[in-house]
């Protein structure tokens, strides 16, 4: 099995065996692990084959890529150097990135990655590290470089994985949300917050618009990127500032619509599976799902097989995404 929940003891054993691991876990759990061939981000929420959605401060989620990669290295970037992340990826392989939530590097990547000069030239998948929701404001998300023992609060760690010549990496998205039939919403600036919105071209107070129309902010704004639905999740309305805040930036000129409601997450998810990856899930090496899907769809104890993995504060499939499941397939070539 490539992805599984492990006790600290089992994780230690795999590290000692020299396995190459992508890990997720609570900070206290990750700090108990020895140096080795691993990279990790903090998060205590997971979806497993055995138990479905769960939260644990003692267990770690492991994706073992030892048997599919030819070579790996770990690179560290900051907000000033991250523009090189695509170009410096392996020529035949993939890059796996983890960035701490709310760090300057997270914000820089969210806003700027689509404009990096070599956007998308090499596969880039990953996630945004977080914390237990009870720890918000008390602890900071972190990423761990198992090779060096470094713990990073601001920066991005990237595991650059070279694949054997007969293997090929491809990245996919499963998004339960589609654009609804309502107004076309656009913005005059890029950013994580906005006071104003253009509703069908007419400037309006965004918070007042949401309240007047009783729009459910659990449902994201959805943009159509040449057939790919990209969500912008609502963080909330800051009444003191009079702004609407998001978990990912809106971009000027993009046409957003409020999402259609999803009545039954698990049923819709299974339908999406068939549509998005043709049911051939044996090739899935890694996947992660958004914590907003976990919370709003009450996934604790529910299974989303065959897609399991960490439950994250943001997903990366070439660029930052929200309320989405992203996955990496490695296929014979």
């Amino acid at each position: 099995m490539r992805q599984e929940i492990l006790s600290i003891e089992d994780a230690r054993r795999k590290i000692a065996e020299g396995r190459i691991l992508l890990l997720a876990g609570d900070e206290d759990a990750l700090r108990q692990l020895p140096k080795g061939n691993w990279l990790a981000g903090t998060i205590p929420y997971f979806i497993s084959h055995e138990r479905g959605g769960l939260v644990s401060r003692e267990l770690v989620f492991a994706t073992d890529i030892t048997d599919i990669v030819a070579d790996v290295a770990i690179a560290q970037y900051d907000q000033n150097t991250l523009a090189r992340v695509y170009a410096e990826g392996p020529k035949h392989g993939f890059s796996f990135i983890v960035i701490p939530a709310s760090s300057p590097t997270h914000l820089a990547f969210a806003l700027n990655a689509p404009n990096y000069k070599s956007f998308g030239v090499r596969p880039l998948i990953g996630w945004i590290a977080g914390v237990h929701l009870d720890d918000l404001g008390k602890r900071t998300p972190k990423v761990f470089n198992g090779m060096t023992g470094d713990v990073v609060e601001d920066g991005a760690l990237v595991l650059q994985a070279e694949l054997p010549p007969n293997k090929l990496a491809e990245i996919g998205i499963i998004n339960l949300f589609e654009q609804g039939d309502g107004d076309i919403l656009t913005f005059n600036h890029d950013g994580f917050a906005s006071k104003d919105v253009l509703v069908n071209g007419e400037k309006r107070d965004f918070a007042a618009y949401l309240l007047k129309n009783k729009l459910d902010t659990k449902l994201p704004l959805v943009a159509d990127y040449y057939g790919v639905m990209v969500n912008i999740s609502f963080q909330g309305i800051d009444e003191a500032e009079g702004t609407v805040k998001f978990y990912a930036p809106v971009f000027s000129g993009i046409r957003y619509k409020h999402a259609k409601p999803v009545a039954d997450y698990v049923k819709t998810f299974q339908e999406c599976l068939g549509k998005e990856c043709g049911g051939d899930t044996d090739k899935v090496v890694f996947s992660c799902n958004c914590i907003l899907n976990y919370l709003y769809s009450e996934l604790e104890g529910k299974k989303t097989d065959p897609f399991i993995g960490p439950v994250t504060f943001g997903e990366i499939a070439y660029q930052l995404l929200n309320q989405t499941l992203v996955y990496l397939e490695v296929k014979d070539f």
Partner: protein, 77 residues
């Protein structure tokens, strides 16, 4: 299929939105979502040329990927 040269008119047609296609390669779809918007806002020759350059570079560097090969067939026949 070989990647057509940047002078092929098909590149301009796709980045300007004159022609649209149902593509498979995720990175190309995300990039085109941005390029077509940018070029609609600013259809100057320089911006169109920059868009062609970016899309050509993305597909040329991934020309071995099956979904890219399918997309090239879809665009250029």
């Amino acid at each position: 299929m070989d990647v057509p040269s940047k002078s092929n008119k098909g590149w301009q047609d796709i980045v300007t939105g004159k022609k649209t296609y149902t593509l498979k390669f995720l990175a190309a779809k995300i990039l085109l979502g941005r390029l077509t918007r940018s070029i609609k806002d600013n259809p100057s020759p320089d911006n169109v040329s920059s868009g062609v350059e970016q899309l050509h570079n993305l597909l040329a560097q991934n020309a071995h990927v099956p979904s890219v090969q399918e997309d090239l067939k879809t665009i250029f026949g």
